[in-house]
Symmetry: C2
C-alpha cells in the first residue's frame, strides 16, 4: 500500500472529548472516525486491525469445535418478551417497528434467537453438544457512550452459545471456551487475567471475566501475585487467617469512650490499633436484624452479606432502625444480643481475641470481649472485602488489586433461557429436557482499545505484530533524491513479495512528518531510507516496540527486516 | 467436518411459502433458516458459501485499488434529510429513535455516510481519486419480502463509492468497477449480462445492471445473441432499419373502414399485414399534443417518448383528450395535423412507404400515405419497444429477450450527493469543487440465490467449486463394516491434509439418505465408499455438476479426487 493513496490522514490533535489514550491514538492515527455518539466508522487501518482480531478469534473458535453461523441483527420482539428481557434491557436495547407495526429490536446479544434455532434442528440427545458462534455487530443504547471504543453503541462481538445434554457437558463446553479465550487473548498480546466474577445472589451462575489490565479500566479486581487466582471485587476471597493461638483471656471490662463512636476515634483514645477493635455492623434482612462482626481495620463486603442471607433482601441499617430496634448507634457490640438477631462473624474474627467493641450503651465500649465467653456467633462466613496484601485463597502468594477492561465474558447459563423459551431435546429415556446452555462473548473493538491502552508511548501505538494493520513501513526521507526513492521502492517490492504486509510512505512530506506518522500508526517495523545512508549503502531499521535501531546494508535489508519482524513481539 | 456434528439437518419438504427453486433448495439443504419475513439466519453451510462470495469480492475489489472500510449500520437522520432521501425512501427505510429521541435509520445504502467521511479527510485534488468499499448488512423494509434470498429485508451488500476530481476520472473509476464486477461474477460461475439500464429521464445517469439469467427473474432485458450488447427493456434500442429503397408511391386514397378502429381489425379488413399499417399514438407533453408514428406491428416505448420530450411530463391521451383537442379516437393519422402538434416518427417508419393510417375521420383510413408528401415528421427518434429478433444496434447479430436477477448495479452519480451534502475538495486552481462520485453495489445473498437458480436439478444444488461450502464429501455407505469406515476415514484424512475442504458423512444413516443429502447440499465431488467396492479395493467418485461417475483404486483415490475437482467447473 502506498501512503499517498491510503485513506488515512493522521491528526496532530485528538478531539477534546477524548479522555483515554486509546481513544486519542486511534482517532489521531486514522483508525476510526466518529459518526455520532458511540458510533464509529472504521477507516482502512482500523478495519485491517479489526479483521486481524476477527481472524484470530475465528481460528481459535473453529479449533475448539464451535461452528460459525450468522444470526440477524434485527430481531422480533416476541422471544424477548417471553424471557422478560424486553423489559429488563429497557432503553439499553434499540427498539423499532417495521412498516406493519411489528416490534423489533437490534440484537444486544442473541440467546433469544439462537435457542429456538437450535431447538428446531438438534432435537435429540445424540445431536449434542453443539456450540454455535458468530462475529457480528451488536447494539446497546448506552446512556453515555464514552472512552472511544470502550463504551460504544455499535460494536463487533464474537458471541458463542453452547448447548449440552447435562450440567457436566455444559461445564466441559465451558472449559473449552475458557481455554479458547486464553489462546485468543494471548495471541492478541494482551496482559489479562481470567477473573471469577460475582456469581450473583443465587450463587449458581458461574461466570468469568477476561480482564485486560489497564489503569483506566472501569472494573476493579483482585489477583494473586503468584498463581492464576483472580476475582472481581464482589467475588474475591482471601485465605482465612489462622485462629488465634491459645493465650490469656482478659476480663471483659466496660470502659468510658465519651463521644467516640467511630473505630478511628476509639483507636486514638485507647492507643490501640484498629485491628484490635471489632466492628459490629447491623443489617436488615427481610425484617430480621443481622449483626456482622469484623475486625476494625477491615471492611464488610455487602454483596457477600446479601449472598449469605439470600433470598431475603438485605440492606444496611438506617438511622431510625437503631432506635426502633433498641440499638445504640456507634456503640453496638455483640454481647447480649437477643436470639432473634442473627450474628455473623467473618472468619478473620477467629484470628483475634480480647476485642474492643461497643458496649450497647452510649459513650461506652467493652475491652477484653471474647467469642463464646462474652458473645455468641451464629454463623462463620466470608463477608470481608479483600484488600491489597491479603493471602491468596489458593497458594502462598499475596493478593494485589488492579483495574481492568472487560474484553471477554463467559457464563454458565444452565437452563435459564431454554426453559423460558421451551427449547428442549428428547433425551435417551424419551423425556423432553431443556438444553444446558453456556454463552461466551468477546468485544472486538474493546480488545483493540485494551491492546492500545497497554501498548503505547507518547509518540503513538506500539502494536503487537498480530494486530498491526501492516507489518512494516518503508520511509524514503528525501523524495527529491532518486537513489533514495529507488532504494525505498525496491525494498517495498522485496518485502511485499516475501509476504510482509508493507506500506511505503511515498508522500512528499518531510522525514520528520513521516517518522512521526510511523510512530503514531505503530507499524512494528520501520525501514528508513535516507540520503546519507544510501550513499554508504545502508538503511536504518527501527523496531517500534523496543525502540531499538539497527543499520543494515541495502542489499540484505529485506532479509534483516524479516528477521527483526520474526523476533518482534 | 463430520456430518454427525455439522449443524445442518436437511429437510425432505420445502416450506409451503417457497415459490422459487433457490428458496426451496437453500432451506431444504440447511443453508438458511427464516427468523421472520425477509430475515434469515445463516447456518454453517450457508455461512461458508456466503464467506466464499465475500472473499471473491474482496480480492477483486482490492485488486481494483478500492480500499475497504466499515461504516455504521445505524445512521443519523440529518444527512438523509439534507439529500431528501429520508422522505423518498419513506417506509422502505427502517427508522428508529435512540433513548435521547434522536432519529436514526438502518442503512439501506451509504452515500450519506461516506460522502461526509471522505470530505473530512481527502480535501485536496491531490488526494483523488479514491474508492472506498465495505461488505456489510443493509436494511430495506420491503412491503412484501418473498422468493427466499431474492427479496429480503436484511442482506449482505458490497457497496463501493468512488470520488473523483472530474467527470473523466469518474468514468475511469466506473470502468474499473465494471471490470471488477465482470471478474467477480465470472468467478462465481454466473451466466450474466451487463445490461445498460434506463438512464432516467434526464438521460445523464449512466448505470448498468449485472443481470443473472433466470426465468424467474423479475427484470426483463434484451441482449444480443452475438456480442456483449444488453439493455433493460426501458433502455434497449435496436439498429434502425434501412430506409425503403426508392419505388412507386401510390396515391393517397381515403378508404372506408367502418367500425375498424384497431390495427388488427383494419389489417383483417384489408388483408394487409400489420407492418403495412402505421399507428399514430397521441400523448400529452405538458399540455402540448404529441403524435408518435410507428409501424402497426410494433409498440411504442413510453419511457423513450418521455425522454424525448423531457423535461415536460408525458402521458398517453385519455379519452376526453381526443374530443377536446379535435382528434378522432381510433382513426388518427398524421396528415394535416396542425403545427402545434409535435410529430415524432420512430426510425422504423423510414423503412416503409404507402402506409395505411387513420384518416382523422370516423370509420375511415387512408392508404398510400407517404412521409413528406402526405404528412410531415418533426423529429425522427428511437421510440420503439425492442422485440425478439430485432437487429443488434452494435453488430450483425439479432436481439433476444430474457429475464434476469439483478445481482449488481453500478451508477455514475456525478455531483448529486456531493453538492447536496456540500462535500468539496480544493482543486488545483484553489476553487472548492464537489466530488464526482460513482456508486457500486453487489447483493451477496442474491448472487447466491442466482447461482442456485442456474445450477440445480431435481436432486438439489450443483455448486460451482468457487461457492460450494465444501469441495467434497466422503460417504461410507455401510457404517457397520469396519473396512468401509476405516477407508472412509483414511480418505477423509488424506483429502483434508491435502487442502481439500471435505466432509465425512459419518452418520448412522442409510446409503440412500447420505447420497440424497450429498446431492441436495451440492458438494462438487462425492467419494462413495461401499462394501463391495472396498472388497475390490475401489471407491466411486461422482462429479455433481456433470453427474459423471468413475471408479478409482482406494490407494490412489485421494489423488483422483483432487484431479476431478481440479477439472470440475
Amino acid at each position: 500500500m502506498r501512503m499517498s493513496k491510503l485513506f488515512a490522514r493522521t491528526l496532530r490533535e485528538a478531539p477534546s472529548e477524548a479522555e483515554v489514550v486509546s481513544h486519542k491514538l486511534l482517532i489521531r492515527a486514522a483508525y476510526i472516525r466518529k459518526l455520532m455518539a458511540g458510533v464509529y466508522s472504521w477507516l482502512p487501518l482500523g478495519w485491517r486491525t479489526l479483521r486481524k482480531v476477527e481472524a484470530i478469534i475465528r481460528e481459535e473458535m473453529d479449533a475448539s469445535g464451535a461452528q460459525e453461523v450468522r444470526l440477524p441483527i434485527i430481531l422480533p420482539a416476541d422471544p424477548w418478551k417471553v424471557t422478560g428481557r424486553w423489559e429488563t434491557y429497557g432503553e439499553l436495547m434499540f427498539k423499532l417497528k417495521d412498516r406493519h407495526e411489528r416490534e423489533m429490536g437490534l440484537g444486544p446479544t442473541h440467546e433469544e434467537a439462537v435457542t429456538p434455532l437450535v431447538a428446531g434442528e438438534f432435537t435429540s440427545y445424540r445431536d449434542l453438544p453443539v456450540n454455535l458462534y458468530q462475529i457480528e455487530w451488536k447494539y446497546r443504547d448506552e446512556f453515555r457512550p464514552r472512552f472511544g471504543l470502550l463504551r460504544v453503541r455499535e460494536f463487533l462481538m464474537k458471541d458463542a452459545y453452547s448447548f449440552d445434554r447435562d450440567e457436566e457437558g455444559m461445564r466441559a463446553s465451558y472449559a473449552a471456551m475458557v481455554e479458547a479465550y486464553r489462546q485468543i487473548f494471548g495471541r492478541c498480546g494482551l496482559d489479562y487475567r481470567v477473573v471469577e466474577a460475582d456469581p450473583g445472589q443465587i450463587g449458581g451462575d458461574v461466570n468469568h471475566e477476561f480482564m485486560a489490565l489497564a489503569p483506566i479500566g472501569e472494573d476493579e479486581f483482585v489477583y494473586c501475585e503468584n498463581c492464576d487466582y483472580a476475582a472481581d471485587i464482589e467475588a474475591a476471597t482471601s485465605r482465612p487467617p489462622e485462629p488465634a493461638a491459645d493465650g490469656e483471656l482478659e476480663p471483659a471490662t466496660k470502659i468510658q469512650t465519651p463521644g467516640r463512636s467511630t473505630i478511628q476515634a476509639v483507636s486514638e483514645l485507647l492507643g490501640r490499633p484498629a485491628s484490635a477493635l471489632m466492628k459490629c455492623i447491623l443489617y436488615d434482612a427481610g425484617g430480621r436484624s443481622v449483626a456482622v462482626l469484623i475486625p476494625g481495620d477491615r471492611e464488610v463486603n455487602d454483596d457477600k452479606v446479601a449472598r449469605a442471607m439470600w433470598p431475603a433482601p438485605v440492606r444496611l441499617f438506617e438511622d431510625e432502625d437503631f432506635a426502633a430496634r433498641g440499638f445504640v448507634k456507634g456503640y453496638v457490640g455483640p454481647q447480649g444480643l437477643p436470639a432473634d438477631v442473627t450474628i455473623i462473624a467473618d472468619h478473620s474474627v477467629r484470628a483475634g481475641r480480647n476485642w474492643v467493641t461497643g458496649a450497647n450503651e452510649v459513650d461506652h465500649h467493652v475491652s477484653g470481649a471474647n467469642v463464646d465467653r462474652d458473645f455468641r456467633v451464629d454463623r462463620w462466613e466470608d463477608v470481608a472485602q479483600v484488600r491489597l496484601g491479603d493471602p491468596c485463597p489458593r497458594c502462598e502468594g499475596s493478593l494485589r488489586l488492579a483495574k481492568g477492561i472487560v474484553v471477554g465474558h463467559t457464563y454458565q447459563l444452565g437452563t435459564r433461557y431454554s426453559k423460558a423459551l421451551k427449547a428442549t431435546f428428547v433425551d435417551e429415556d424419551g423425556t423432553e429436557q431443556p438444553y444446558q446452555m453456556g454463552c461466551y462473548g468477546i468485544g472486538l473493538p474493546r480488545t483493540i482499545a485494551a491492546v492500545v491502552e497497554q501498548a503505547n508511548d507518547e509518540a503513538g501505538i506500539k502494536w503487537p505484530k498480530a494486530l498491526a494493520p501492516y507489518d512494516a513501513v518503508v520511509i524514503p526521507t528525501n523524495m527529491d533524491v532518486p537513489e533514495v526513492v529507488d532504494a525505498a521502492e525496491r525494498l517495498y517490492g522485496e518485502l511485499g513479495s516475501s509476504g510482509v504486509e508493507v506500506v511505503v510512505d511515498d508522500r512528499e512530506e518531510s522525514a520528520g512528518v513521516k517518522c512521526a506518522d510511523a510512530d503514531l500508526i505503530g507499524y512494528p517495523l520501520q525501514v528508513v531510507v535516507g540520503k546519507r545512508g544510501i550513499q554508504a549503502g545502508k538503511v536504518d531499521l527501527k523496531v517500534r516496540a523496543t525502540g531499538v535501531r539497527t543499520e543494515a546494508p541495502l542489499d540484505g535489508a529485506a532479509r534483516s527486516a524479516k528477521d527483526l519482524l520474526g523476533a518482534a513481539p
